[in-house]
Symmetry: C3
């Protein structure tokens, strides 16, 4: 059985942002067990799970991404939407458009140090829409 709802995130600045609490607040009561899938309906932002404590991890995640997929590479052909656009598409695919998290004892069964990240790859993005599906 699936329960479904949408989450409209506000606009975030370019970078990696911890959104675990926003997601939990939106989800309300969960079934005792199952799976949650969170899907982002965009191609220049992504979702991933990573360290939930030290903000320096999120800063370095962004810096590593930028270093790995630089702007203005000479071979880019898709350049009309700005220098941040094509790198954003690639980064979005390697991070992924959805995450799946088990539910145990009516809670998201994240590890002690795990949090949900919104990866915003555009310089000036609007809000992002997430679709949440709860399977039990």
């Amino acid at each position: 059985m699936t329960e479904e709802f949408d989450v409209q995130l506000p606009a975030y600045s370019r970078g990696f942002h911890l959104i675990t609490e926003s997601i939990k607040n939106e989800m309300g009561d969960l079934p005792k067990s199952g799976l949650v899938n969170i899907f982002i309906q965009h191609t220049s932002a992504a979702l991933t799970i990573n360290e939930n404590y030290d903000p320096s991890v999120r800063e370095d995640m962004a810096a590593i991404s930028d270093n790995l997929v630089p702007e203005n590479a000479s071979f880019y052909t898709h350049t009309m939407e700005g220098s941040d656009d094509m790198p954003a598409h690639f980064k979005a695919s390697i991070m992924g458009s959805s995450i799946t998290i088990p539910i145990r004892n009516g809670q998201l069964a994240l590890g002690t140090w795990q949090g949900i990240y919104l990866c915003e790859f555009r310089n000036r993005a609007g809000g992002r829409k997430l679709l949440i599906s709860i399977l039990s």
Copy 2:
């Protein structure tokens, strides 16, 4: 409840290819809500979701992949299957072997600009087999 079927894709050239319509045609009628998982049974090709409009995005995705994981790196030891093989394995893992997409109102709930990509990383691959599972 799960509904399942296979899709046999024809051989595609090396690169990123939009296969949204092929997938939709194969799936036929969907339940009103749920999730679709699409899984590729191969280790040198992958599935991802990205921009569905401008072919230059797909070209640049391939070029960035090639730039990131070059052929013939001096440290490769797995070289027997051709210079494109080991990079293909790595690219397949960072793109991913499956994608999960919500179903809403009996449709794949992709964002306006989202499409399903087959990422073919081999120079001369045969057809690829996908397993599709529909959860409702």
Copy 3:
């Protein structure tokens, strides 16, 4: 309907390790059809699916990861937990924290050459905990 259980993996050395048989042994009998999700509750190790035969693929996967996300980059700010820690977080996100595999005929429907990898990115990690969810 979901069936769920945990797998406590022993400590593995840094590198990519084939764990398909360990997972199969833990899972016991599967339903005739459905999906399995395997989730790792950690942020410096990951799960992926890749080639199950030649150990040189696993060695090169690790070498490519290390080359792509080097230790001691001058711009890292998260350095307190050792030079392997920040690269481990990034590698974990691009590989992913969970994999989803279809079940067909009561078996994991992996392709002929597909196996499940534990990607251990720390030099001296303890055992890792996996949460397995079976949907049917």
